[in-house]
Amino acid sequence: VTELSTPRLAPIRLRQGGQSLRERAMDRESPLRRLDWVLVASVASLCVLGCALVYAATKPILLNSGLSPTSYLKKDVLNLVIGVGLAVLASLVDYRTLRAYTPVLYVASILGLLAVLVPHVGVTVNGAHSWINLGGGFEIQPAEFAKIAVILGMAMLLSERREGLTAPTSRDAVLSLAICLPPVLLILAQPDVGSIMVFAFLVFGVLSLSGVSLRWVGGMLAVAVVGVVVIAHLHLLKQYQIDRLTSFTRPGAASQSSGYNANEARIAIGHGGLFGQGLFHGSQVNGGFVPFDYTDFVFSVAGEELGLAGGALLVLLAGIVLWRGLRIARRAEDAFGMLVAVGVVCWFGFQIFENIGMNLGIMPITGLPLPFVSYGGSSMFASMVAVGLLLNVHMRSSR
């Protein structure tokens, strides 16, 4: 600890000889000192809130079935612990080192998506063939990890500048879109409409923010509009997908199963009022009226039991995460870090808005969990890795 000047680049020094762990941790250049504590605190709050809500949602059903009321809570906490571990890992390895391993991660995620299609390995839940059965009650969703692979891949391609150029060329743009194609096609085969929508938003965001020509931005928007029209005209979506996507425009159609979900979730949220019915006291939740209220409709539990106060807190915490993500992007040391941060913000931003929006009845129903809050290992792990990446970029930025 002799250098007084702040180095422009914070080199990764995992092993500094002769220093104790405490000394290393307290080092001025220690990554811990450069941690975004606001981001950490808000993510931690979301996770704690999530555990409480998952417990509130699963306890009555488990009790009714004569099972241990904490069995889901325990799994949720276990997921969280694993997730924190992944986040630490993702933040400690310098993102510029990670960049070198991006092709490996990318190939691994493609293999995961392919594995889903293998009989007896892939598992179908609610019409989507998206899970890999790991045995022992554990299943993972490779699409979640594919998001990280795509963000890193695109950021890598779009941040490599030719000499004298400040923005990616069209060749870079085409290349970066090309690497998105295999995972997107594989997810379409499952089919997982929610994830596709996240990908669309994420790809658009990363490409736009890379500084690519505005023609690309306009072009992509046009393609999106044409795509929607084509999908609608060629009946490429299955009826249940259309029902889910459109039922939010018909709140009265509660008899259909997807409309029923949305309707009961809205009843739960409306029932909450200003301060809610109290944790564990929501009758909609306890009566099991909102299906999937521990995963995709976890926000309805917050709405009913914690009311406007709790619901708004949840939205604000999610907003803080996005704000810190944008702040990290702005302060990033290089284009790669900025684009990784932007990718994570676009992903989280869309997924949070879509998930809470469908609970509130302003967005179509897709099977997207609420990051950090919903029960589910894959989502938790992927989100935690993404937070780790944000912290990684932050710790290695000079501002």
């Binding site: 009714n64 999937f292 604000l316 944008l326 900025m338 931003g349």
Partner: protein, 739 residues
């Protein structure tokens, strides 16, 4: 950072802020200004009422013998929710059940179809869909118990189906007494009745029985009981998550009546014999009615009809055809002829005429009036010779018609001259009839009592105004005979006039005068008891199922006969003369029957009423009796329609009634010394205690022999736990991820 990225980051930031803002706004919108409908929806989602109907209260006679109680029957119920949740909507279950119950699956399906708009099934169920729906009632036989066991033992084959013990109405018919039309019946509440209740009550009462006729209807609020309501929280698949509130059903209260089963049974039997005897003499005798009142209390001791019907007629499934054939059968078995039907009472009405004529001053008990053989071309009954000038007493004893004709004419003349002087006519006989409860509701505690008709100047004109149009048309109808046309033309023109003949007929209980046997009995009771005109009561008290007195019911006194006691004594003496004097119209009969008039003093009046459109007469006898040297205790009115003269058909039946009540011909008296029980019978816990201390050697007591689920200690009819079908099911199916 690349130059192009910075403004684009700002755009992204704005986008993120607006998305967060949108979510917050929508959240506020749902939870604050628009929360109300969601709150309602949430509360409706969770709470369900499961209703257990209370057994209805019993109806017992004056000695506590049950006329209506409950029996337990194995009632097979089907839970719709459970069936609906099965993959085939319970098709297989209904098929299996149909086999066991020896019916068709189609019938069962229609029985569990909920009534509602668009449902035309007559078997549809009008109750709450959360109630187990009864589909069959099994008799307590070995075969039926086997049927039930098949269901109960193989629950997995019959999800949602249960056989459970339920209280259903039972009619023990003590001493073979029917009293059907007095008891009435209860049946499932009609949609109309249901509509009048509050929303919450509708839920509770939807599967309840309510009294529709007789005592079941008039004491509905006591007999009904309080249904048990179990309020449960249910989840989205209708599985009960917890019991919020549980009130147990409370059995209805017991109605203790003044009826005496033995007196009732013997009166029913006597009327039947009277009809058979009259028919043996060549009379039609299509129906008969009899009333026995306690003159001191106004209580109905017995009230019988012939023809009658079994009291459980309406608790069985009654086809429309069967009902119609009964309703129109000879003698109208479904109509109670004692209080729901009024006929001309003949000379029994002379009691009222005498009182009226004396009261309004047309006649006096101190004077004699002419009893010629004819008056104004009207001759005396049976063409008797004139008896010269006689007193009211004599006129009643020998039943001189011309005596009343003449006085009736004087009465009419006096009223007519009053009218000519623009004064109100007195119409004393009509006023007296009304004071005695005729021409209006007699006020008995049974629904649908006939009012009868007492003609006077006013209602004659009102009637004419209402119906004259028909007669005026008839006068011009070429298909009518010339006589018919002439009659119609006369009524069309002059029908409003209350003619002297109308008054004269009225005083004889003929013409437009009609009264029910009950009304006549009330009038004779008033004479016998010194002037008190009762509104008669069948019920005597309301007692809780445990035997605690809730309310005593006393027959209200609506009026007093507005004549001095001396006049009442005078008329009463005349009535005694009818039976006791050698020239009395009923004396010969009582003598030939060897009636011990030295023990029981009987007074009364015969009546032979000419019937419209018939050559046969209505046979009436109204009488009262009490021990010699004491005051009268009972009134009996007997009517045998188309049954010869009063003295020939009706009066002998009165002898049988007195025989039964007083035990005059070797039989045990129903009421020793003629005293009816004044104390209430011991019921409920009190009765159980009394019988167990009295005869603890005997394992079975009389009352215990009939199964009564309404036994005071445990009125519960349902299983103690949850209703079938509404059971907690594992909710694991809900614990799956949505993709």
């Amino acid at each position: 950072l690349t130059n192009g990225s910075r403004p684009r980051l700002v755009v992204l930031s704005v986008l993120v802020i607006s998305l967060v803002g949108t979510l917050l706004g929508r959240l506020w919108y749902l939870q604050v200004p628009h929360a109300a409908p969601y709150r309602v929806a949430a509360s409706e989602n969770q709470v369900r009422d499961i209703v257990t109907q209370a057994p209805r209260g019993e109806v017992v006679d004056d000695m506590g013998r049950p006329l209506i109680n409950n029996k337990t029957a194995l009632v097979v119920t089907v839970n719709r929710i459970t069936l609906d949740n099965l993959s085939d909507q319970g098709k297989a279950v209904l098929h299996r059940l149909a086999k066991v119950l020896h019916t068709s699956a189609k019938t069962l399906r229609s029985q569990i179809t909920l009534c509602g708009p668009g449902v035309h099934d007559p078997n549809c169920y009008g109750g709450s869909p959360y109630q187990p729906i009864p589909v069959a009632q099994l008799k307590p036989t070995l075969a039926a118990t086997r049927q039930a066991l098949q269901i109960l033992e193989m629950k997995e084959n019959f999800p949602g189906v249960t056989a459970r013990l339920t209280a259903v109405r039972n009619y023990p018919k003590p001493d073979h007494a029917l009293a059907s039309s007095i008891l009435g019946f209860a049946s499932p509440i009609s949609p109309k009745q249901l509509k009048r209740l509050s929303q919450q009550q509708q839920q509770i009462e939807a599967s309840a029985d309510t009294g529709k006729a007789g005592l079941e209807a008039s004491y509905e609020r006591y007999l009904h009981g309080t249904p048990g309501v179990k309020q449960v929280a249910v989840n989205s698949s209708n599985a009960v998550t917890r019991v919020i509130k549980n009130t147990r059903p409370k059995t209805g209260d017991t109605v203790v009546t003044n009826l005496d089963a033995k007196a009732q049974a013997s009166l029913e039997q006597d009327l039947h014999s009277a009809v058979l005897a009259a028919r043996g003499n060549g009379h039609t005798a299509d129906f008969a009615a009899g009333v026995v009142l306690n003159v001191r209390t106004g209580g109905v001791v017995a009230m019988a009809n012939y023809p009658n019907y079994e009291p459980d007629l309406f608790s069985k499934t009654l086809t429309k055809k069967h009902y119609k054939s009964l309703a129109h059968a000879e003698g109208y078995p479904l109509l109670d002829k004692t209080y729901q039907n009024a006929q001309a009472p003949g000379s029994t009405f002379k009691l009222i005429s005498s009182l009226g004529l004396i009261h309004d001053g047309t006649g006096s008990i101190d004077q004699a009036y002419d009893c010629p053989s004819t008056f104004q071309n009207r001759h005396n009954f049976d063409g008797e010779n004139g008896k010269g000038y006689i007193s009211f007493q004599k006129a009643l004893i020998i039943s001189c018609d011309t005596f009343f004709f003449k006085l009736g004419f004087q009465d009419w003349q006096r009223d007519n001259s009053l009218i000519n002087q623009h004064k109100k006519p007195v119409q004393g006989v009509q006023a007296m009839a009304r004071d005695l409860g005729m021409g209006g509701n007699p006020g008995i505690d049974l629904p649908g009592a006939a009012t009868g008709h007492i003609a006077d100047r006013k209602n004659t004109r009102l009637d004419w105004e209402q119906i004259k149009a028909n007669y005026c048309k008839g006068a011009k109808n070429p298909s009518f005979s010339s006589q018919h046309r002439l009659d119609d033309a006369n009524y069309c023109k002059y029908g409003y006039i209350f003619e002297p003949g109308d008054q004269e007929n009225e005083d004889l209980g003929q013409g437009t005068v009609t009264v029910s046997p009950l009304q006549l009995a009330v009038a004779y009771s008033a004479l016998a008891n010194g002037g008190k005109v009762f509104e008669p009561r069948v019920a005597k008290a309301i007692v809780s199922p445990r035997g605690r007195l809730i309310k005593r019911i006393k027959a209200p006194i609506r009026d007093h006969i507005p004549v001095p006691q001396s006049v009442l004594d005078y008329i009463r003496t005349a009535m005694y003369g009818v039976v006791n004097d050698t020239d009395g119209t009923a004396n010969g009969l009582y003598k030939s029957a060897n009636f011990p008039l030295n023990k029981v003093l009987v007074g009364g009046k015969t009546g032979t009423a000419e019937l419209p459109n018939s050559s046969q007469d209505g046979s009436w006898f109204a009488s009262f009796a009490g021990p010699v040297g004491g005051k009268p205790q009972y009134v009996t009115v007997i009517e045998v329609n188309k049954g010869d003269q009063g003295a020939i058909t009706a009066a002998p039946t009165s002898i049988k009634v007195w025989d039964a009540l007083y035990g005059l011909q070797g039989d045990k008296a129903i009421f020793p010394n003629g005293q009816p029980p004044t104390k209430l019978p011991k019921l409920g816990i009190a009765a159980v205690k009394a019988t167990s201390t009295k005869r603890h050697h005997h394992a079975k007591s009389n009352r215990g022999s009939s199964p009564t689920p309404s036994s005071p200690s445990s009125p519960s009819t349902g299983a103690a736990g949850l209703p079938p079908g509404l059971v907690v099911r594992p909710g694991t199916a809900l614990l799956r991820g949505l993709s």
